[in-house]
């Protein structure tokens, strides 16, 4: 019987190696796999490249991972925001590398990696600093810039519901980057608020089919917020 549920955070995090490219779902605090990020902090992998929309806030989660000097490089669209104190300190000290990518280009590069598309021509950023040094081409009278696929070794995803096949749904705006990141990594690890233990999700409402998912950890929300994760 197919069963992608794992019983512990340690099992969920097994095998993540130093030097990995880690895709982190979420937009701001919403849809962020907080428990899995805490699990990654505990797991110990370092020299990571993190791909996420934001560069973390406060001193928890991604910010904590950076503060522990475990992140060599971050690829994001919105590094500097209210509370991004850890990132800003590391960046101005030259202790973290940054690649800024327009948010839509970031999403499309991740989607391309999951879809087997090596590169694509987009109109975004043409004529700006973020297109400098990149191949440009006029197609049907408009200028486009070539952007390449952005794949991960690991994706950490927050779902709302999951079944044993790894099929997922998301809740409201917590969907955001999660479904595309789930497609783009060699190892996709999911924390889910609810489980469908007796059966499977309705086939018409599944957003991420289980083919993209390797491991699912059940992390009820209350547990997560009160205790910082099931293993914390």
């Amino acid at each position: 019987m197919i069963d992608k549920f794992v019983d512990s955070m340690a099992e969920a995090m097994a095998g993540i190696r130093d030097g990995s490219v880690v895709l982190l779902g979420g937009f701001g605090q919403v849809g962020q796999p907080d428990a899995l990020i805490d699990g990654l902090i505990a797991q110990g992998a370092k020299d990571l490249t993190v791909v996420a929309n934001n560069a973390g806030t406060g001193h928890t989660g991604l910010a904590r991972l950076m503060e522990l000097r475990r992140v060599r490089r971050i690829v994001c669209s919105f590094p500097r925001s209210a509370g991004s104190v850890v990132f800003e300190a590391l960046y101005s000290a030259g202790e973290i590398e940054l690649e800024i990518v327009p948010q839509g280009t970031l999403a499309e590069r991740i989607r391309a990696a999951g879809a087997g598309i090596a590169a694509f021509f987009t109109p975004t950023a043409v004529g700006t600093r973020l297109a400098e040094g990149k191949e440009q081409r006029e197609i049907n009278g408009r200028t486009y810039v070539l952007e390449s696929a952005l794949a991960g070794d690991v994706a950490l995803v927050e779902a709302w519901r999951a079944d044993r096949f790894g099929n997922l749904t998301y809740r409201e705006s917590a969907r955001n980057f999660n479904p595309i990141m789930a497609t783009a990594a060699k190892l996709t690890i999911v924390q889910t608020q609810q489980t469908i233990l007796a059966g499977s999700l309705h086939p018409e409402v599944i957003v991420t089919p289980g083919i993209f998912v390797d491991r699912v950890l059940h992390v009820p929300y209350a547990m997560q917020t009160e205790m910082g994760g099931p293993d914390a």
Partner: protein, 221 residues
């Protein structure tokens, strides 16, 4: 106050600019609102005029802020503020959300800006070459992707320096993208000639507006 004194210029406040923009948005448009003054536009579109607000983080049909105590932690807009969902709304993922943006499906995007140039260039994300960690977010995608890009901003900086200029000095968000600018002083259209003044606030004359502007202004033809 006498009509001729400078103080009599009926400059708009932030809500005034937003309300002026809201008047120009017809029912049925799909609209993305940037952070700042643009976000206020939604408050000035009457709920019975159905406009579908899109947010980059995968929300179509963004509604007003929730009442205190009724905040849904799973539902935010691109500015990371709690919002509600209006009837007809839908949730999509980020690649689909930016397919909507880049694919020319939005009728309108309203952004704030540091500078707008007479050729339609917009600079709204970084203030200098040293500011390498600036947050671009979705601004570049929105600026090139929407059917219309309107800018909402103060006509000048706090120091009185013009924001409507011949050429942007700050790093560009997009080139040749802006169609209209709504400021606290005027509404201007960008045409092949440059800035054309369509409206000014009460008490302001064309010469005064020109003095606050860093590029040549034109009357409508």
């Amino acid at each position: 106050m006498p009509d001729t004194a400078p103080a009599s210029i009926a400059a708009l406040d932030r809500h005034g600019i937003a309300a002026r923009i809201a008047r120009d948005i017809p029912e049925g448009w799909y609209v993305n609102l940037g952070i700042g003054i643009p976000t206020l536009v939604a408050e000035h579109v009457p709920l019975q005029r159905e406009v579908i607000f899109h947010s980059e983080n995968g929300v179509l049909g963004v509604g007003p802020s929730p009442a205190p105590g009724a905040v849904n932690p799973w539902l935010i807009n691109a500015g990371k503020q709690p919002v509600t969902l209006r009837p007809g709304g839908a949730f999509i993922h980020h690649a689909d959300s930016f397919a909507i943006i880049r694919g020319n499906h939005l009728d309108l995007c309203v952004l704030g800006a540091f500078e707008v140039a007479e050729n339609g260039d917009i600079a709204n994300w970084a203030t200098g070459k040293n500011d390498a960690a600036s947050a671009v977010g979705g601004a570049m995608d929105l600026a090139v992707g929407a059917k219309r890009l309107w800018v909402a901003m103060e006509h000048t900086t706090k120091d009185g320096m013009p924001r409507l200029v011949e050429r942007c000095t700050y790093p560009l968000t997009a080139s040749g993208a802006v169609k209209r600018v709504y400021t606290n002083l005027a509404m201007l259209e960008i045409t092949p000639r440059g800035f054309v003044v369509l409206e000014m606030v009460r008490g302001l004359d064309f010469e005064q507006l020109q003095r606050s502007t860093g590029a040549q202004l034109f009357h409508p033809e």
